[in-house]
Symmetry: D2
Subunit: 303 residues, 4 copies
């Protein structure tokens, strides 16, 4: 990861700052402010700012004049109740801002979450640095044969070598050509807004990304899930740790009622009820499709 000396200095300076504030503050996230959390080979996540904490959720739910209740046990119960019953607006009262460095193909997935605020590094305006995502060998996998949008077996060592060689050579060459396009013999060349199109999507970009807690949980539910692509999931996992430090009650409720919860269809509920009352339940009378039935029985280890 390339962080220039000036950037390191800037970050250190930010971390040394200390202001006095009346605002809700959380020690365990203050500690992590501005720090670089490395992700993948050149990426990172930094928390830049935050607004609110667990008590701010409670405060808004109660439209109260002070902060949350004095008894944090009550706050925790209320937060779990709100999450369980799909209340969303109190969680929107907390806000967090990240500085993130990530490969362009990951950024393309990420940006589909439309409810966040984003400022991305502009390759129309500035020159991109020579930083490309080259996967670890252990993360190279073949196309899944059962899931059209997933990975199957890890590649053999020789296959991996071949893949890595292609990725590295093409990254190098495209960047060298990007530089040639931008200028040759010291003379200015093609406009940056055009030259950038020669770069592959494993190049890194960066952005400021700010969102509220409710929408962040929606992001995490999809992207920290085991079916998410590995390269975005590792970002989501780092964010999970940061959110846990920031709003531990809300995060706990999210883990229990969203991330590790199970949504049972009307048919699945019926099957379970019958099963619990002693009935034998079969695919044929389940009302489910073959695929649903398999997911269902696998989950409850019914076979």
């Amino acid at each position: 990861m390339t962080i220039s000396e000036q950037q390191k200095k800037d970050i250190e300076e930010e971390k040394r700052k200390s202001f006095s504030t009346k605002r809700t503050s959380v020690d365990s996230i203050e500690e992590k402010l501005f720090t670089i959390n490395p992700v993948l080979d050149h990426g990172f996540i930094r928390v830049i700012d935050y607004m609110g904490d667990d008590s701010a959720i409670v405060q808004a739910a109660r439209v109260s004049y002070g902060s949350g209740t004095k008894k944090s046990q009550d706050d925790n119960s209320l937060i779990r109740y709100l999450m369980r019953h799909w209340h969303s607006t109190p969680f929107e009262m907390c806000e967090i801002k990240f500085h993130i460095k990530l490969p362009v193909f990951v950024a393309r997935q990420w940006i589909r979450h439309r409810t966040a605020n984003v400022n991305e590094y502009s390759a129309r305006y500035s020159i991109l640095e020579k930083e490309f995502y080259i996967p670890e060998e252990e993360n190279l996998a073949s196309q899944s044969s059962t899931n059209n949008q997933g990975r199957g077996e890890t590649l053999s060592s020789s296959e991996s070598q071949k893949v890595l060689e292609i990725l590295k050579l093409d990254s190098d060459r495209s960047y060298r050509n990007y530089e040639s396009l931008l200028s040759s013999d010291g003379k200015p060349g093609l406009a940056r807004e055009l030259a950038r199109m020669n770069l592959p999507t494993n190049i890194y970009t960066q952005w400021y990304w700010k969102t509220d807690l409710h929408n962040l949980f929606n992001f995490l539910r999809l992207r920290a899930d085991s079916h998410a692509q590995y390269e975005i999931r590792v970002y989501a996992e780092v964010i999970c740790d940061l959110v846990k430090a920031w709003v531990p009650s809300a995060y706990g409720a999210f883990v229990d009622y969203r991330l590790n919860s199970l949504n049972l269809s009307r048919q699945a509920v019926e099957c379970l009820k019958r099963k619990l009352s002693g009935d034998v339940v079969n695919y044929e009378d389940s009302g489910m499709s073959k695929r649903e039935w398999e997911e269902f029985t696998k989950c409850f280890e019914m076979r």
Copy 2:
């Protein structure tokens, strides 16, 4: 304005708090945190929390590792440039949260700004207090004869007296009947979610309202405008003062490029060019509708 002793104590407690933070902080808004800014007869606006300052706009626009530039003059120029050229995302990097008490009919206009986060006091869950907006005599005006959605002349004193009497009597009676619906002879009565429907829309409600600076400026451009209804404009004006204390550069740019700017149509631009070159410009060859032409000539005092 009814603030209970407990509420006063809660507010005082919030104001006495002091945390150490590394986050961007602004002294001139810290001072105003939690304080009640009265609006209308029973309403108020309180700043509960904020994220970012002028430098956070610059930091995001530049996707920088530190905060804004060292030279605040550069920051100010950049902020004005961004506003002038309709960049919106950097302004979204600042966030503010208010606790607001306001009449229901004002809340109904306000909520049409959809990009904010809101938690409103629930009259399904709780009992509303007896607080109704009764206008000052000087703010009672007749229907405008030229503008279908505006006010004309101030009412005469006798007319005002009659109006105020009606409003007061109906507010009192409806609230007394609301109480009767909720319980009679000490026995619980009609469900709160039903009883509330008897209350007129000059009753006060309250909410937590959180928004980013870009969307707040959109709100202020419409609601701090002279054509906005007086009862929402006074809230917008209080918010203007608070925003000015919080992000003075961005607020200055907003005032010059939005609030007090003028949007000239293609036709108006042509007329002005001709006028400046010495031509005589008439309604007939202006390409404008009668109403536009009147607005235009009035603005430039052409007659």
Copy 3:
């Protein structure tokens, strides 16, 4: 319900129209276009326009050049798969527009769904008609003693009479006074934007409301639920019928995977697994709160 002769004529004229279009069309919803579906005592829902059908969901999910597949069975399976796995964007490709008349206190709940487009009748600009929601006796209930935001027992007949008398008298009087405020002795009076504040929230308003299918399902999941307030639920139920006629596959998936689905927490899944494997499961070792445990055992009739 007051529909003027002119309005009836306008509606009839709309219904007689017939254009030739290449756009995706659905006979079963065409039949219902513009028709008044009565709700409550004076309210209604009318479908004004729609875009897309079940095949448009499939078409977008596949980014195809034609419409959905030829085999509608495949389309149905794909739609159910998309719903089951929380894909949202394909459902956003269908859009529907309603004209709705509803009491103000219902409109206030409704508008909290922020992702729709809305144009409401303006009481700043126009005079509201004398139409107030007066509940049926059977829908008058006391405050629930267990659920702070719900209803308990139906009121006794004498209690109901008293309630209805209050609501009717106050509605009448407030409207009469609204008229006096607007003008007296034939002279124009208070501006409409002020006079309206005297009206209680059981008065009817109306709006055009347009939304995409994904966000409409979010609305229906909350508002067609048994915990929703009766007065908004009846609107949601009418919409359910209309959506079923318009996009039967998507609606079927919604009913099975959202409306009648069950979201099991991590703890509940564990308890079910243990139970299915023959263990005895108690509240004490369930990891659930008392309230959750009760909801859980009630659902699976475990006692």
Copy 4:
């Protein structure tokens, strides 16, 4: 542009369809439905569906029971009034859906408009076709020396040749390597979600994109502007033509009050007033920055 025989057949089939509908319909856009409007070398825009027309804007603004007024002149005046006074919700009542093929670097700019609905072709799920944007020689320009995010002079012929050679060679090679990554010797290779990262951003992607008219105008104001990057501007210009055919009144108002309008700052308004009253106005007493002053005087040809 590669359109397979099957795709051509599918498109022809769509165009032959004819349904009878009661919905608002517009002949001049019906004609253009499903047709491929070519953009750049391999891109296109197709209108897939639409909802509403000019009269639907009026209908919603008036919350009327029928469609817009009978006299279309009145409708046009109202639409221009709404646009001039920044009313946004009536324009949201019209909706349009496009199928668009565009280079990835253009898609990355485009997606920043967050208020639209999007389904993009998935390169996790499917294999991208070998179609890369290679600019016309006349559109190759050097970096602007005055505008950090713009183009300056057109390249010389020899420079252009060099640029085009690099772009073509790198596109070819990266695609060949993409194919090698996906499979070798007939054996399945790297997962598609990984292999795609080797492709440069001048490769074409495609999506279904649906938005309402208000937000579409926001998009067009920025992207049909002369400062927009050429490669997105040409898409915006095609959309302008389509919108003009669909809602001519609203489009006319957009052109006059947004696209070709001028937003004058408070300071610029003051300068103009002084100038019109015969004063000499200089940069020094204009209250503008150097850059603003230059933009201002250039616009009104004051020198």
